[in-house]
Symmetry: C2
Subunit: 331 residues, 2 copies
């Protein structure tokens, strides 16, 4: 034990780290049993729960020169909340498995917990961190599991789109990728290493792109809204609209026909940029599309191509595959 | 893409890795929506769910020279199933966030998935892997979230033990630590690096200790049995009986008074060895203790010490703290 004001996690016991985390989360738990026992206990009104997990790893997924601990907490919450929303569910809890190097500062852990909480409070009020796990690892890794409830509606799958449905999107497309491009083009040193972001050198539009990358704000509440409005299919756009639209089309056995105008001002950026975590959904008619979604096109009977843009097969890169692409952008 | 018979995950796309995993899990899903959509959807009969997460990290938690991929899958399932059981719940699903180096072989991933499935089938029939996430990482990391349902009973917390209750244990204590000691003392080279285990050089008892460390078999089903029998408190013994008994005593505001005879033949090993994932529980009377649990002692009104053995305060090491101890046992 040490009384240093900001010790490393390798210098102190698990108990003190938990105290720092619990201070950041204080008062946020809404579980039947929150953090501190062997497991959390949550109410599951309606008798069904939605569960998803997504991990951020230092290197492939983030650089500490670009992302502060609060950003990392925020983003690791947001990307998981989006997957819950994409099922038409309302997020109610996060579990956070945090593996970190022994030289991680206690204040870093506290700021990360604060970022998790801020994302929940902002994007999914009523959702909180209800459990987790702490481990020492050479590689900073944040594995989050998100839990949602359906409030009486049926889950909205990828497979429900039918010819004649309307295709719509809530949230941004292409902004997070523009922010990543900005980081790689403007905030690396001569050796290619990430350097701290000088926000003062950025325009307002560039800052917005950067924020879309570092602290994304997916339209979480619109997931349940879409389900209540009768969405026939829905998914989180994490790997780029083109790739994810093809996935939805394949799962549903249909073709999606989009309009380039609807993707203006940068259709290619919108189709190929990942990590915005917009919600791509189909609805039985234009009248059913709820506020917050914009119409991108229509669902057609299956053809030779799963994705058309202005009537032409879209053959651009399919988007992000962590196994194929992870070192395309390193160093 | 490659047609190599056993490519690395860095050589192939996520789709092919998922195909390997789904092949290992084939037919095991019992979810309303299993793997393949944005999130899993599970039935939560009784309207409550139990959730926990626990991570295994290469280095601090395992060495590949000692643990094969099937062992890792098994253990990462077992330790999480035990936390669900310790709430009195029945495990119904696992979510697995797997972060692995780009040079990990596809066959390794398949064997890990098979190990996860085997642990579920053996320890918690009806439970299956229902979702997950794949990421590239320099450090092999397996973060599992386990989900349980309560089947109408109330969750059993750490805080419910009352003076006069009987203390009982289901499962082993000290065996997994003996197995770890065996690995460190017998299966390292002159430089201290882990080397493959020559099982033929081990006695039957030593092999059992080794299996307790590498493929633990916590008494998962006895968690729900204890809850139904009226257990007043319960927890998973992961960090050693002494430390975890003190935690239960502190949460309940009582003293636990154990008998050394009940911990024979090696009371110190039983008190200080972690990782067996036995279930420590208290019951309102000896008559209430279900088959599979053995009585260790009684609950007393709180005194100066949270844990007594044969009436004397137990002051031995408190057990495993990953922040304090993680490199005590390295290389």
């Amino acid at each position: 034990m040490t009384d240093a004001p900001d010790p490393t996690v390798g210098e102190i016991g698990e108990h003190r780290i938990l105290r720092e985390i619990f201070a950041a989360l204080d008062g946020s738990s809404r579980a039947i049993v929150g953090p501190g026992d062997d497991a959390a206990v949550l109410a599951a009104p309606g008798g069904r729960v939605v569960l998803t997990t997504d991990t951020l790893v230092q290197g492939p997924d983030f650089r500490l020169a670009w992302s502060g601990p609060s950003d990392l907490g925020w983003k690791s919450a947001a990307v998981n909340l989006a997957d819950v929303a994409a099922m038409g569910a309302r997020p109610v809890a996060l579990l956070v498995a945090l593996a970190m190097p022994a030289d991680t500062r206690l204040s870093f852990v506290g700021a990360l917990a604060s970022g998790l909480r801020a994302a929940c409070d902002t994007l999914a009020p009523g959702c909180a961190v209800e459990g987790g796990d702490l481990t020492i690892s050479p590689t900073l890794t944040i594995a989050v599991t998100a839990v949602g409830v359906l409030d009486g509606v049926d889950p909205v799958l990828r497979s429900g789109a039918r010819p004649g449905d309307v295709v719509a999107l809530a949230g941004r497309a292409g902004r997070a990728a523009a922010g990543l491009e900005l980081l790689f083009s403007r905030f690396r040193d001569a050796a290619g290493e990430a350097v701290a972001v000088a926000r003062g050198t950025l325009s307002a539009a560039e800052r917005a792109d950067l924020d879309a990358q570092l602290r994304p704000e997916p339209p979480i509440a619109l997931g349940a809204v879409a389900a209540a409005a009768g969405a026939t299919a829905m998914m989180d756009v994490s790997d780029g609209l083109a790739l994810d639209a093809r996935r939805l089309a394949a799962a549903s056995g249909v073709t999606l026909a989009l309009s380039a105008d609807a993707l203006a001002p940068d259709p290619v950026g919108a189709l190929e940029g990942g990590e915005d975590h917009a919600l791509l959904a189909t609805f039985p008619s234009a009248a059913a599309v709820p506020e917050g979604f914009r119409v991108l096109g229509v669902v057609q009977a299956p053809g030779d191509d799963a994705l058309l843009v202005d009537g032409v097969a879209y053959t651009g890169p399919g988007g992000w595959d962590p196994y194929r692409d992870w070192d395309r952008h390193t160093g």
